[in-house]
Symmetry: D2
């Protein structure tokens, strides 16, 4: 039984961890914290979450009795807390963006923060289980991927060496529900009358998941940004609670047969518990991944066979955050990768 601590358990990702861990047969939430709700009972704050008799502890509670701590707190708080937790011998899955980028200059540019623990970046496992199972399983620190990055990378990377023949940068036009794009933070991104019956692009050419996508695309495929260009990524805010749909535009210098594209995705999906490739002629919508840890992917091409659209769908709070974090936990503790997940 893995003894779990959750720092920031009352935020959207934290609550989602509680939701899924409730029924996990090999995990036990030993303690959970919230600065906003400290000393309140979990069942008072979240009446729908039966089965938790605990109260929220303050964020600085002693977690040394835990085997694993999930961090679901802002970037700067994670940045500072991770080294302290590792020193105490606790393993950590960090849901923030603090330890995902290898280049601390890029980190500073996109996060407006100075990285204070660059020495940890090498050993950190990027928590995309489809590509880093082994490193994750032994890691002290797992950097759980960004929600947009998960959708983009799983929509691209199955193409494997075909990515080396792209003659233009992939364009990722992504649309996220509110919980993936601001969540409970106050302001125009989360205020009901600002978001409802509305839709907008934001942080165009400036979103912090762009370098995350580009780094792992470059690491894990033959794509070369210096040749074909920087990945173009435009996030949009959808008036829905959950879900990210990414419409990815690819251009090849020569026609790629449908069978070639499909076989790559199908093979990848076959090997991966939480990746599903749609039947020919079908594209995923948000609904097919809602409340599930799956990413679902479909493709379409034009008559020339040179222009391809890949559509990937995931639930930003599950595969895009807490579900993937539990998938990583399972790997870290030798459990079945899908345990406790749907």
């Amino acid at each position: 039984m893995v003894r779990i601590g959750i720092i920031g358990a009352a935020g959207l990702s934290g609550r989602e961890l509680l939701y899924w861990l409730r029924n996990h047969p090999e995990a036990k939430v030993e303690l959970l914290t919230s600065s906003k709700y400290q000393r309140q009972k979990v069942c008072d704050v979240f009446p729908e979450l039966t089965g938790y008799s605990q109260v929220f502890e303050p964020n600085d509670v002693d977690v040394s009795a835990c085997d694993l701590v999930f961090l679901a707190i802002p970037n700067q708080a994670s940045l500072e807390l991770v080294p302290k937790l590792l020193e105490q011998g606790v393993r950590v899955i960090d849901l923030s963006g603090a330890y995902r980028l290898r280049d601390t200059n890029v980190f500073s540019q996109f996060y407006q923060l100075t990285h204070t623990a660059p020495e940890l970046l090498d050993e950190t496992a990027f928590g995309l289980p489809e590509f880093f199972k082994e490193k994750i399983s032994t890691a002290r620190l797992v950097a759980n991927p960004g929600c947009y990055a998960t959708g983009a990378l799983l929509g691209l990377l199955p193409l494997g060496k075909l990515l080396g023949s792209l003659d233009r940068a992939p364009i990722i036009d992504a649309k996220s529900g509110v919980s993936g794009a601001g969540g409970r933070v106050e302001g125009d991104m989360t205020n009901y009358v600002s978001v409802n019956e509305n839709f907008k692009a934001y942080k165009v050419f400036a979103h912090q998941h762009q370098p995350e996508i580009q780094q792992y695309l470059t690491d894990l495929s033959p794509y070369k940004a210096e040749e074909s260009g920087d990945v173009i990524f435009t996030p949009h805010l959808l008036p829905v609670n959950r879900g990210i749909l990414s419409t990815i535009y690819l251009h090849f210098p020569e026609a790629i047969p449908v069978a070639d594209i499909r076989s790559r995705f199908l093979e990848f999906a076959d090997e991966q518990k939480f990746v599903h490739f749609m039947d020919e002629g079908s594209l995923p919508d948000l609904k097919v991944t809602l409340n599930s840890n799956r990413v679902m992917i479909g493709t379409e091409s034009d008559d020339s066979g040179q222009n391809w659209v890949v559509v990937s769908s995931l639930d930003n709070l599950v595969k895009g955050a807490s579900g993937q974090a539990i998938q990583n936990m399972n790997l870290m503790f030798g459990l079945d990768e899908g345990m406790g997940l749907l």
Copy 2:
């Protein structure tokens, strides 16, 4: 041309005033204020509001050159500002709840504020034009009604002396869009993921519009709360931007003929520019009053003829706030009651 000032012009009601006054042939917005956006241009904050070249002034700007000032600020701020404005000889329409209740004890109980200008309450006109046209036309200070109160009172008062025969308190089960129930104030009443795909009752037996409804129901009809009971009012939060639908339950000790009920509403609607009574068999939904200053009302009874349901619909930002305020302005300045409104 009425020279207008708007204090709090960037809130939801303030913005709605700007929207309607834009095309008003006899009003000119001379100055407008916002603490949050001061010194910013109106067209930068609200790109959809063409025609305003002004910047937002600070709230303490000198308004003495205005004929009329609309106050679209919180209760306490209105409470304090009104006497100062009246002293400067400016007429005022206050959209807050500060000057609606005659009984300062009730005010204290429901608003958690001490009334600091009780001497003004007698001369204040309650800005429900359907009942106070004359007083409004000469008033220095008009207290614009609450959105829920407008919907409830216009659903009840046309019944006239029939209200004297009610043997039970009316039950008003009201449902409001977010802009009428919290608006841009931060928190669970306005946060997108809290409100979307959700619905709830709030302030049950404790909402500040209950005494407002009861006071004017008692003043303007033979209804006696001490005999039939206090009006029961339950507000709910709807996941829509705008609109209030009130479902009002009435019980009479004897059957009331359909024709009797209908004729009273029809006669009232005939006399009132912004009141519409639905055809038999029809009830209004929210859509029929959206972006309009009208209140629309329908009724239904059971076989006994003793139980009646009245449904009233209005747009909380128009007839429930800023549209009604402009209707009041028109009356105050001898203009056609409906000028600039739909």
Copy 3:
């Protein structure tokens, strides 16, 4: 292992049965039908429902090899099919309204149908497990309750003998998401632009769940409609996918102490797996029961103690339909009442 057939498996309730039965350890869906999608694979119609390799059969498929058949088809179709299934020795849970009302005249009035199998009504168990566990466990035919009726009855019946002292009819002002109020049937109740940003009352004094509520309220409590009046029930259409919130107004001739009300609900909730009573000062919203088989209930009273508001919340597709049906199945086959449910 219970061998299951589902007639009408591609409608909203049918799909919800599939969703929950997927992970039920003691049930196996042997066959499922859909007139619209017959011969198509389940995973093509519902890509999110992994684990079903079947195709949809036509509705007239032979189900005699099943232990239990769920009917998720329109009233008339159920009315006709049930006797045929019982003759084949198959047990049936009917999610339609065909076998809920004991009085066939009332049935005709509210359903515009003539009852063609009145001889079955006596033996039919009303599938409200909180009150009919025993009868359900041995029944050949279970009439699964209406979604509104479930919310209303579970909000009222725990009050037990206090219901005998009500001096007025309870007023149930209920608000349902679209899946509980029309679902996939085409028209103004389900068309997106008709429903979105809208809200309305419908079937006022005419909804078929009113007699269902009244019949079981009268059967199971000392409430007497002939004395206090017919239950008043007003359904409304909410712009959300799922959920029913019922605001129930009760009036007692004398004050009822808070402790008296609370202790009755708490005791009831203690005994019932899927009933939860909120802490003092809290009322349930829709979110707390979403995707769960629980009904959650809260109460509030005015200063007099004579006026009470009960608010009940449930997910109309779970406790209001398919979840409750599975709860009934568990009882019919001697399984744990909550097996496979949350």
Copy 4:
């Protein structure tokens, strides 16, 4: 006073025409038709549309007394009706897609219809007033543009000769509210529970507005599809009632200075009543054009200056359909272009 007939006045575009024409000082709706609601009063079908005392006529009513007929009916019906109307000497604005494409083979491919009046295509004016004012003003037949095409063309064409230097096809990732993507037609594109909390791409590489965009882009700019490729257009379905936001990706072989892009858009916006270009750093969302005939446009570039994103926003029922149709009517009858519009 222009005497107006509207064929198909109860559909979404038809109703929107009624909404705007109500207050048009120089137009009078003489007759209006609806197959679904024939013989019903307008005010019964649309209680919110005050001012119409008419009933809906059947679609085959005699319109020869009208100066102008708006067609808001399906493509095939328009295709057939237009020649008959022109023969009667009535001028026509057709809101369908029947007369927009010059190439009847392309028309057949995308509309699955054979064009039965190709002889009219030459004289037909494409109703994009920003580019065809003169031809519109004298035309017998105006083909009102598609909603997506309007948003895409007005986001692209102001760039003028810069479009000749694009080295890749523009990618238009467009997102439309339900009224622009199926409206009241029944099915998965308009059913509430299918659309709400969901989002999807549809008709990828196959939407009928793609050839419309490409034809006029080629006609009105130096863009050459045979060199840079066919325009790539992906429509998506947004869970909102109204609005289209188009995110347009452009790539230039060399850096384009910000000032160059901005000056072109600003100059264009200066000349066009209903085109607005956002301040630097701002992009339009859907809200800024809701219920308005304006299209609002913003741009953003990456550090290289070679990659540009143009975002255009419009209300699909106003500038994307009925508002633009009225703008065209104004031009056809020598009225001020913006009369009756906002």
